[in-house]
């Protein structure tokens, strides 16, 4: 076992309700991975178990070769950036970031805190109270607070979902930068496939407490193996192929205006670069996209379309 973080047959339950049954996966040192899935898939529960905020029913969690399954959170050398940031409202930005160092009675607290604030661009905010900061700034304080104690693993709960588009890109850069500079192993939890794709080296896709598929971000995006994974990564057209297997197409892979099938346009959504049409046809509901510059179809209009088999992804499982 050379994994830096390894989760082995981990079972997590709330009372008698099992949220995660026998989950196993491993993470290499310095990797940035995403636990991705819809709400209730067990991703947050898994993250909380790694942090020590939840006691597993069975199974083990190892970090850097050490079994931490029964250790309290304070001894696990992990950091956690909460979705709500969870800053201490009665303390200043400086005191928030210094908190973990003080608990460890670390030397050079002042310098280390200021360096931490510098790295997230908040040097000038040291003496502010945290409720006065914007959401983005609070998140960066939370990030600095977790990082100054040099955790072995940094956990992030939905790190981008509360941010607007511009801040999202900025935070993405900050996180990638941290990964490069500190080499810390990062696990983040998200329900948003675009977040996972943008940030993660590797994605673990979960459903009902089980791993559906895991792999490199690009591989997950281009080659989902199941109907669930395909659906999650935007293959909105899933139809049985001629051999009885399942084929999946993104809306952009559907050719509109010509082809063997015919349907009626029921609606359209404009997505900037593309217009995506919802088409009622004998095959069921089809979603097809056309570049925004091309002539548009009207609602109720009959349209011919093609599902090119060369563009389809063949799914292994239902």
């Amino acid at each position: 076992m050379s994994d830096f973080v390894s989760v082995d047959k981990l079972t997590l339950a709330y009372g008698d309700t099992v949220a995660v049954p026998e989950l196993s996966f491993g993470i290499g040192k310095g990797e940035l991975i995403a636990l991705l899935g819809p709400s209730g898939c067990g991703k947050t529960t898994t993250m909380r178990a790694i942090a020590g905020l939840m006691t597993p029913k069975s199974g083990t969690i190892r970090i850097d070769g050490r079994d931490v399954t029964r250790l309290p959170p304070s001894l696990r050398e992990v950091g956690l950036v909460f979705q709500s940031y969870a800053l201490f409202p009665h303390l200043t930005v400086f005191e928030n970031v210094a908190f973990g160092l003080k608990m460890r009675k670390a030397p050079n607290i002042r310098e280390r805190v200021m360096a931490g604030l510098e790295s997230v661009g908040l040097r000038d905010f040291a003496n502010r109270l945290t409720p006065d900061l914007s959401g983005g700034q609070q998140q960066r304080v939370s990030l600095a607070r977790s990082l100054v104690v040099e955790p072995k693993v940094l956990l992030l709960d939905e790190p981008l979902s509360n941010l607007d588009a511009r801040l999202r890109l900025e935070m993405q850069m900050v996180l990638k930068d941290i990964q490069k500079k500190t080499g810390v192993t990062m696990i983040f939890v998200t329900h948003d496939q675009s977040e996972a794709l943008a940030l993660a080296d590797r994605i673990v896709l979960m459903k009902d407490g089980r791993i559906v598929q895991s792999g490199l971000a690009e591989e997950m995006y281009s080659a989902p193996r199941s109907r669930f994974a395909a659906d999650f990564f935007g293959f909105e057209n899933i139809l049985p192929g001629r051999d009885g297997g399942l084929l999946a197409w993104r809306p952009t892979a559907i050719r509109l205006g010509d082809g063997p099938h015919e349907g009626t346009i029921r609606g359209m959504s404009f997505g900037g670069d593309y217009r995506t049409y919802v088409i009622d046809s004998a095959l069921g509901e089809i979603k097809g996209s056309v570049r925004a510059g091309l002539p548009a179809f009207g609602e109720g209009e009959k349209v011919r379309f093609d599902l090119p088999e060369g563009e389809a992804v063949r799914l292994e499982a239902a």
Binding site: P72, P73, L80, F82, A86, F88, H90, F99
Partner: protein, 260 residues
């Protein structure tokens, strides 16, 4: 004026008359220069206010009331803060029943509480009057303590405590470093509320007062039975001013009404 606003005005007016009226009557009666409790006063003087401080039994009962209010409230908080924490943070079986039990002194008439304590605590066990008064006051304040502290705990997110745990705190450490500083205002508000409630408490204290051990309000009643002079009115004024003063300062510096 529309009829509805005339009615509203009348109701507000009457409310103020009945709330503040007695207060004004008592102040004026206390300022009398005569020897009888009378309204309107018979001339003006401060002599009854001075008299208050010379009555030995008032001095003793004032200290008893002070003692009960301060230590009864502290005891209620020492029991009530952990109880509030448990109710707010854990899924304890029977939390509803506990909350009901804790608020029962708010619902059960004080006379019944007083009688019950006298009959079943003081008489059979030989508890001293002082000990019984102390227990009764602590128990009466407990519901206020639990309620006020619970509501300020509900404003503090749980994940703030979890963050403290991950950053290296023990459970107890996170309570003192993170939870306590954030509910300090609520605890202070509970203290003030408890103090004022205890100090003004009559029915329970009435049953539990014995020879030589009386709280101030009970002592005032006893005094009036033998001596019908305006010093009781003067004392009532002083107590009212004290209560209003405390609540005013609490509101000013603490935003008291947020917690109550």
């Amino acid at each position: 004026m529309k009829p509805s606003s005339t009615a509203t005005g009348t109701i507000i007016g009457l409310t103020l008359v009945f709330l503040i009226g007695p207060f004004i009557v008592i102040i004026l009666a206390a300022l009398t220069a005569g020897n009888n409790l009378a309204f309107p006063p018979d001339g003006l003087s401060l002599k009854w206010f001075i008299k208050v401080f010379t009555v030995e039994s008032f001095r003793i009962s004032f200290f008893i009331s002070m003692f009960l209010a301060v230590f009864g409230t502290l005891t209620a908080l020492i029991v009530g803060v952990p109880a509030a924490y448990a109710i707010a943070r854990y899924d304890i079986p029977g939390a509803g029943a506990i909350q009901l039990a804790v608020s029962s002194p708010l619902i059960v008439p004080g006379i019944i509480v007083g009688l019950a304590l006298l009959r079943y605590l003081v008489i059979p066990t030989g508890f001293t009057i002082m000990a019984a008064l102390f227990l009764a006051h602590a128990a009466l304040i407990l519901p206020y303590a639990v309620r006020v502290v619970t509501s300020s705990l509900q404003n503090l997110r749980v994940d703030v405590e979890e963050a403290a745990l991950i950053l290296g705190c023990s459970r107890l450490g996170s309570f003192f470093r993170v939870v306590f500083p954030n509910i300090r205002g609520g605890i202070l508000a509970a203290f003030i509320l408890g103090f004022v409630t205890s100090f003004n408490q009559v029915p329970v204290s009435l049953f539990l007062s014995g020879p030589g051990v009386r709280t101030l309000p009970i002592d005032m009643l006893a005094y009036m039975e033998t001596t019908y002079d305006p010093s009781v009115a003067a004392l009532a004024c002083l107590l009212a001013i004290m209560s209003v003063g405390i609540v005013f300062l609490a509101e000013r510096f603490l935003g008291f009404s947020r917690y109550v």
